[in-house]
């Protein structure tokens, strides 16, 4: 069996890319990477189990239609039976197109390895993280889009060969005018640790201690919907039902009551810490550790404790 993994060259060294290759390796067959764009050191993907990388460097800013054609050409050239994506924003545009093009069933947001004892099925999050579904694929070729932070990357091999591959993908129909990527920030969906705050902080001028805590922990910052809606924090920080859904290892929620729509975006977190003045805040029911107290009192103390811990470790 051969498994093809699509990697966006610009994110070849993101943890999510290593996770996708590791996942493909665990399926048992040969793993071949098809990459697009000018990523450097693609050979490193071999260390996670890829036997070779095929890359179309001309597709640095390819649109979904072009990337779909590229992967389809690679699937045909390699005879791959399974195609793996990391479930990021590129995968959300490309994987459904590829599914129709190859007549291959798509499992979006897989959180575990497939069960193959009886067919081919995979566990996914459904109902915005409130339940799990077991989806089986009925087609010969299968596509799995793996939710980030579902498995740990594992080293399994050494640097592999990188060869050019031309997918004959034609011209882009979507023209990119400008790209805005804030410097230095950890992208929320990839962050393993997240510090989030809500209306309990009383105003945007009070976020200094939240940013300090995030810096001390090496965490990303997030916020609740009301805070993004009134403009205290940028919209891309909004986690919840209508914002970003995240599943970090640690989610610290400060001054957020824990409405069901907010929980839908964070209930995949491994550990949740809640700081709230209101002992009746619903978020405590979803929390692993709770602190009833005023953020303005608790967070500076937590910052001191984290600094002390970091100095000792």
């Amino acid at each position: 069996m051969k498994t093809l993994v699509y990697i966006n060259g610009n994110h070849a060294h993101a943890k999510a890319s290593f996770e996708a290759v590791t996942y493909a390796k665990k399926l048992g067959g040969e793993v071949i990477v098809i990459a697009s764009g000018n990523g450097s050191d693609l050979a490193k993907l071999g260390e996670y189990g890829a036997s070779k990388v095929m890359v179309d460097k001309s597709l640095d800013h390819g649109d979904a239609q072009q990337i779909t054609k590229l992967i389809a050409a690679a699937a045909e050239a390699t005879g791959a039976e399974v195609i793996v994506f990391s479930h990021d924003l590129v995968a959300k545009a490309v994987a459904p197109r590829l599914s129709v093009r190859l007549k291959a069933g798509l499992i979006s947001g897989a959180i575990a390895l497939p069960e193959t004892s009886n067919g081919f099925s995979c566990k996914v999050n459904v109902f915005s993280g409130k339940a799990f579904g077991l989806v089986s694929v009925k087609t010969a070729t299968k596509i799995i889009s793996l939710l980030p932070n579902s498995i740990q990357p594992e080293l399994n091999g050494s640097a592999c060969a990188v060869e050019d591959f031309n997918g004959n993908v034609g011209a882009a129909a979507i023209k990119i005018i400008d790209t805005k990527i804030p410097e230095g920030n950890i992208p929320l969906p990839e962050a393993e640790l997240v510090v989030s705050a809500g209306r309990g902080l009383k105003g945007p001028e009070n976020w200094g201690m939240i940013e300090e805590l995030a810096n001390n922990l090496g965490a990303a910052t997030a916020c609740s919907r009301p805070v993004a809606d009134i403009g205290w924090r940028p919209h891309h920080e909004h986690v919840g039902q209508t914002g970003v859904a995240i599943r970090p290892n640690l989610y610290i929620a400060v001054g957020i009551s824990g409405a069901i729509q907010h929980l839908a975006g964070v209930n995949g977190s491994k550990v949740i810490v809640v700081v709230n003045t209101d002992p009746e805040a619903p978020f405590f029911k979803a929390a692993d550790y709770g602190i009833i107290g005023d953020a303005f009192d608790v967070i500076p103390k937590l910052n001191e404790a984290v600094k002390k811990f970091k100095a000792a470790h």
Binding site: Q65, T68, P96, G105, G109, I181, D288, I291
Partner: protein, 246 residues
């Protein structure tokens, strides 16, 4: 401009999620269905705004049974001109996308909008599948959409940021937060929705690619460990030694 807005029903966001028939079916008992928020707040409202400034027609389409007509009327009450229901229970994303693509192919729309995902299956599949079936370009997760003749300028979420793109009609777009603001239907809209055209179209034969075999609920969360607000060293220690996350 002829705009097609794809809508899906979702359980109200506060619904209790439970399963029946040996955990193979969603338990609809006591569940109130709404228009999937991404489809309604972002795709449908933006379509109506485009119609209000540039003229045209907004058709909503869903794949479902007669039980879904109430949800369709809700979307009509917000302001869509007419509705199409493909008369079948959608068994997977591809089944739904193939039905919608077949209707769109026969009826020449300039712009096809969907929400970025449903809140029940969270798959983000249907829009991309429709685009591939129709061989149209697709802008995913758009947060802004402006029309300039037959050219559209959009903002879309990309990994770690935003990108601004231009594309020509016809086009498929999935809509995310930022695209528009939720509209509450008024009494006039609700009355008018009762008599707006709702066309029932028979489904075409399509084999689903995937099947939801079963569902499980997450394990009950163990009780929250409460920590003294004056003892943050203990919290840090527990996060390190017990939870092992720092």
């Amino acid at each position: 401009m002829k705009i097609l807005v794809c809508i899906s029903k979702s359980p109200d966001t506060t619904s209790k999620i439970a399963f029946t028939d040996g955990n193979t079916k969603f338990d609809e008992n006591g569940v109130q269905y709404i228009v999937n928020p991404y489809d309604e707040w972002y795709a449908l409202v933006r379509a109506l705004e485009i119609k209000e400034t540039s003229g045209g027609n907004v058709t909503i389409i869903t794949v479902g049974t007669a039980a879904d007509d109430a949800v369709i009327r809700k979307a009509l009450a917000i302001g869509a001109d007419d509705a199409v229901r493909i008369d079948a229970e959608a068994t997977d994303a591809y089944f739904a996308a193939a039905q919608i693509a077949a209707y769109a192919k026969a009826n020449n729309f300039d712009l096809i909008l969907t929400g970025k995902e449903t809140i029940n299956y969270n798959g983000s599949q249907v829009a991309g599948m429709i685009a591939e079936d129709l061989d149209l370009p697709f802008v995913s997760l758009a947060t802004k959409l402006d029309v300039n003749g037959s050219t559209l300028r959009l903002e879309q979420e990309i990994v770690g940021g935003l990108q601004i793109v231009e594309a020509n009609l016809p086009l498929v777009v999935s809509c995310a937060k930022g695209m528009a603001e939720q509209r509450i239907p008024n009494m006039r809209g609700i009355m008018a929705a009762r008599t707006k055209p709702l066309q029932i179209v028979p489904a075409i034969a399509v084999d689903a690619f995937t099947v939801y075999e079963s569902y499980t609920l997450p394990d009950a969360k163990k009780a929250c460990t409460m920590i003294d607000p004056n003892n943050m060293d203990e919290l840090v220690n527990l996060l390190h030694t017990e939870a092992k996350v720092i």
